[in-house]
Symmetry: none
Subunit: 189 residues, 4 copies
DNA sequence: CATGAATGAGAATTCATTCAT
DNA sequence: TATGAATGAATTCTCATTCAT
């Protein structure tokens, strides 16, 4: 709702702590300290600890959506390129805005029902992008299988990277994306 | 350590609660109630809340290892069959022993360092099985790509199923496994 | 560390309860009630139950040190007078600040190692005062014996008074002190 | 009451733990373990944790009484020798049966009222011995002062030794006793 | 006598949240 | 906006004691 720059900064710091410690284990005092204020003051910026979680996830998902849309808008219409672009965009957000996304992926269950309902829309919008890209690739014969299953598998493989990918290692996120796309395309020759 | 049948039963119930509520949100009182004892009695069977978590994960991982080994032992030596078998075994454990596995996948971070070290060995042993299967498939030209990346992608896609797969839906876990294998094999013709 | 007047008052009340019930038997709830706050609020002022104990003992020992130093500074240089002064000062603190001292004497073992180390310094400083006084008395031929033993015996006799002395009885603390000094001086004639 | 040799052994072990940890901090489980049985079994030997404490103190006080009586019976009738003998006997029991005595001295408050009443008699009997010895010494002009105060001071000085005396150091308990007696006798020349 | 499992009444401590200043 | 003190409900864990076997 409120999107003051201060609040945005606080959200960023909260994301980091939520990733490090998990939502439940992150105390309001830890959040406040990280933000350089006292715990009482936090409640001037956020109604709730819940609201902080929602802010983190909303921020992350919204960014992902923007980046993906922009990337798709800017790239060629070729299905293979679009697939690759989407995979790259996904990993790019996942690692530039990693904290928010890890929170979105692994603390979703901690959201209260209202927030969950609100944010589900955003999440669905993002997944819808994927479905169109997958559909096009299927239609073009680039890949085979059930559209639903394929998109789930691909998203799973991509999301799971947060568990093992080391950004300081030799491979770039773009490499990863390309490898995944290559893996599921029968014959890129 | 201690493996009384009572403890095993308690572990199973704990897994269920951990999945429903998350580890941090599951109180020892909830655990005790589910087990039909009083919270004080819990500490006869487990030293700690932590130890319950470790027991759940150990149990689950050990089962997965046993099932996968047995399945591989019993199946033919053909790389494609082995790959399919491994994927099926993975999903089978994931859904027959779902609770333990969801806990293992999503509450791993809540383990204390010692338990984590201990259980890492088990986890590694399991992943090693995957790597051999993937290696064979690569060598046989069934699939292409980096062995490390491929196994990570496949495991990610499979593990992520716990987030969306509905066992009461039209597809069986074996279907899922077959579809995934088909997806990554260039040309099964 | 923190020496807010509030904390000082709380420390005083804690000392009383620790004497009445013993440290281990005094619950934080009892402490809080005596202080007119709720148990949770206690931890705003003290990190720990341990810290309360340490505060009580520190407060008491510091007072004893100040009183003894001042008394010695103000009295004549005559060894006998100094000895009597020190004994009187000891009993004076022992009975004006009785609670803190009883805690210091009988709950010392309940301190955790760090607090013990910290407070040992204070205690040593106080005992050092005694040793100089005893040394002077020995040198002047007022008393005889090993300086170490004599000071231990004298301190023992004085400290033990908290076990039997009744402040409402006929004798004043100063009487006690004088009697003790008389007892150990061969011939005051 | 019951004085089986087994019970006596258990009492000895309990005394040790009570000294090491303090009565309140010694759990029934610790006691049982030290005794090589399980905590449930302890209650076949003692009705209560309280009863163990009472047994420890009773045992110790009774021994002190026996030793002191025997020592006085065997020594000459000379008041100075009797005084020295009593002091030596006190320290001897204090250090051969140290644990029981430290418990008696420092955990007395933890006794419940009945046990306290019962054991007070024993304690009084022991102190009565002291008073006769002190009286004789006063009458003989060996020492001066109020009989009550003198005996309190002497007992205090002796009891306090458990706080600082190192049995492995150069001085024997008998040395200590002699030094104390010398200290309070005007002119032993 | 011994045991192991269970109990239930606390114990210390934590923590999101409130609110007067 | 910020703070610091307070709250109260909840949390993990402890422990003397009981009792069926």
């Amino acid at each position: 709702m409120n999107a003051s720059p201060r609040r945005k900064e606080l959200t960023r710091l909260a994301a980091q702590l939520f990733v490090q410690e998990g939502f439940d284990r992150t105390t309001v005092r830890m959040l406040a300290q990280e933000m350089g204020i006292k715990s009482g003051s936090l409640f001037h910026h956020f109604k709730d600890k819940q609201e902080i979680l929602a802010a983190v996830i909303e921020e992350g998902t919204q960014n992902a959506l923007i980046i993906a849309r922009k990337a798709l808008d800017e790239c060629a219409a070729d299905p293979e390129i679009r697939l690759r672009t989407m995979a790259r965009a996904h990993l790019e957000t996942l690692f530039t805005d990693r904290n928010a996304h890890v929170v979105a992926l692994f603390e979703w269950r901690r959201l209260d029902p209202e927030a969950r309902a609100h944010l589900s829309h955003l999440r669905d919008a993002y997944e819808a992008l994927w479905v169109t890209v997958i559909d096009d690739a299927l239609e073009a014969g680039l890949i085979r299988g059930d559209r639903f299953l394929v998109s789930r598998f691909v998203l799973g493989a991509l999301n799971w990277t947060v568990r093992w990918y080391d950004p300081n290692g030799p491979r770039s996120p773009d490499d990863l994306a390309d490898e995944l796309v290559a893996m599921i395309m029968p014959a890129s020759t």
